[in-house]
């Protein structure tokens, strides 16, 4: 294969610099992707800054202790705060035992058969159902068929059904992370599987379960659609307490929804922002609590 020296000289073999064109394409790709990533962060920052700027002025003790009114200067979210806290108390009370029990069954006792797999698939599918549909379920079953009316109880039950699959998944993760040797050791001492599950596995998994519960509840706090459909009202000028579950009720996100829908500018922007700040502060509190719990737990082991 004779070739002339002329034909062989295409590119100097020892030149390792990348071509100009390739460098530009690389930089452009990188820039585009960076912009895409940055945009989300920028939007988040804009959102938070806006809310703080508009709402901080309205924040005061009065805001937290007054009820809603027609006048923006006199409006407070007290009813919503008590409603949200009452809802959370009831939801926690109901989801904790049912969620932990369900997770224990699925993780420790369920036989590996078709029925169990159906159960698990079902729990996963429920996570994809829009939350407003849970509201419809609540409206028909709790408000009308069971006759609880548009009450705190109906709202709490609706949220419980919404949040339960999430708690079961979180509790299962926590149970799964308990090492096998603990179970083996317990069984080898003549304990029944239930005794081992109840006395060893569950206590060992408890910090993880509690963390999961707090995180799930913090998600439930922000849910508006289900309780809106299941009968929460916006204009309520009285507190809610968990021991009066058949009362009408409201919640902080319901207040926000109502404020944004009002025609007055002050309500739409300033009052709503202030209420949003309170809601976000509540979420921050709960998430931080969960993180602290998680850190303390991993330190102990």
């Amino acid at each position: 294969m004779a070739t002339t020296t002329q034909e062989r000289r295409v590119t100097p073999v020892h030149d390792l610099r990348s071509s100009r064109r390739r460098a530009v394409t690389e930089q452009m790709t990188r820039a585009v992707l960076l912009i895409a990533t940055a945009l989300s962060v920028i939007v988040l920052a804009t959102l938070l800054i806006d809310i703080l700027r508009d709402g901080a002025g309205r924040l005061s003790l009065d805001f937290l202790t007054s009820y809603v009114s027609r006048f923006p200067e006199e409006t407070g979210i007290r009813a919503g705060l008590t409603g949200t806290l009452s809802l959370m108390a009831l939801v926690a009370l109901m989801t904790f035992p049912i969620g932990v029990a369900g997770a224990m069954y699925l993780e420790e006792f369920a036989p590996d058969n078709r029925f169990t797999r159906l159960l698990e698939a079902n729990i996963n599918n429920l996570a994809g159902v829009p939350s407003v549909i849970y509201g419809l379920l609540g409206l028909s079953v709790f408000v009308y068929i069971l006759g609880f009316g548009r009450s705190l109880l109906s709202g709490a039950l609706t949220l419980t059904l919404l949040v339960l699959p999430v708690i079961i998944v979180a509790a299962r993760e926590a149970l799964r992370s308990v090492p096998r040797e603990i179970r083996d050791g317990g069984l080898a001492l003549g304990a029944t599987p239930l005794q081992v599950a109840a006395r060893q596995t569950l206590p060992a998994a408890m910090p993880g379960i509690l963390t999961g519960m707090i995180l799930s509840l913090s998600r439930a706090i922000g849910e508006t659609a289900p309780i809106l459909v299941a009968g929460a009202i916006a204009f309520r000028r009285a507190d809610n307490e968990p021991w009066y579950p058949l009362e009408a009720y409201t919640a902080v996100p319901i207040h926000i929804f109502d404020f944004v829908k009002r025609p007055q500018q002050e309500f739409q922007i300033e009052v709503a922002s202030a209420a949003i700040i309170v809601l976000l502060a509540l979420l921050l509190l709960m998430n931080s609590g969960a993180i602290v719990l998680r850190n303390r737990y991993s330190r102990n082991r």
């Binding site: 390739r22 690389e26 790709t29 990188r30 585009v32 992707l33 960076l34 912009i35 895409a36 990533t37 945009l39 989300s40 962060v41 939007v43 988040l44 959102l47 809310i51 035992p97 029990a101 369900g102 069954y105 699925l106 006792f109 159960l119 079902n122 729990i123 599918n125 994809g128 159902v129 829009p130 939350s131 407003v132 549909i133 849970y134 509201g135 419809l136 379920l137 409206l139 028909s140 079953v141 009308y144 059904l161 339960l164 699959p165 079961i168 029944t192 239930l194 922000g222 508006t224 659609a225 809106l228 996100p253 926000i256 929804f257 944004v260 739409q268 709503a272 949003i276 976000l280 979420l283």
Partner: protein, 317 residues
Amino acid sequence: MSAEPTSGRISLTARRKRYGERTVLAVLWLCAAVSVFTTVGIVGVLFFEAFQLFRIPGVSIVEFFTDSAWRPFTDPSSDLFRIGVWPLLNSTLLITAIALLVAVPLGLGSAVYLSEYASPRVRKTVKPALEVLAGVPTVVLGFFALTFMTPLLRSVFGTDVVPIFNAASAGIVVGILIVPTIASISEDAMSAVPRALREGAYGLGASRRHVALRVVFPAALSGIVSAVILGFGRAIGETLIVSLAAGNLPPGDLPALNPFQQVQTMTAYIVQAVGGESPRGSVTFQSIFAVGALLFVVTFAINIVAQRIVRRFREEY
């Protein structure tokens, strides 16, 4: 109870205390089965109540699926009454399309950047930021859509082009809502691609762009597709943002393709109709469930399709 074999047999059969355990296990099983009751409840309630709608004289299920106007608030016997669900469905799909148009490039772009380009320090700041964005309640995003996005669009395109309630504001913010979903699931899928695959490509002289887009991205495709479909499902079921920013008037002319018009999605209708506290048995009350049933069927179908697609992609890879 020493095991000295001094006399007789040692009993290895179960002792009496175990009976209580069976009850406990039954209770545990019941709790796990609550989720089944929920599903059964949802399906049962939606279809039962929806069915009640079509038993009202003057309301026809055929019209529900074929008519092109939605005016359910008048008496069914009047001429003004129209019960076609297409305007609502159209609105939902329009907003979802806008949302995906925003979320897919942003979400996938972020995922590729975080997975293939970003330094650990950048990743440490951005990933939590995305998680925070994912945790923002939708009512807050609805507020953002109405009080920030709408004025922005109106100043960019002009107030005569963009009405106060429009599909674009809501659609864009719904897109922002689902960016974290798409980004984090896609990024997980890309991170799961084995390092050996990347190293092989780099070893052949591929640039980072090649590796990211031609090796990692296709390898993670099943996860990416499922991420997008999950985002799609979430966008369809979104309620608060569209209620606050997109409007409460379903479009009159179908197909409604103009993003700068007021629309009413299926979910927004449900919220609006519920607010009226109409009595049980009325057209308004029952129509909520008919629309809800349709919404459920659509999201359920999407989930099934997603699982099928994911399964098929996974086999090919």
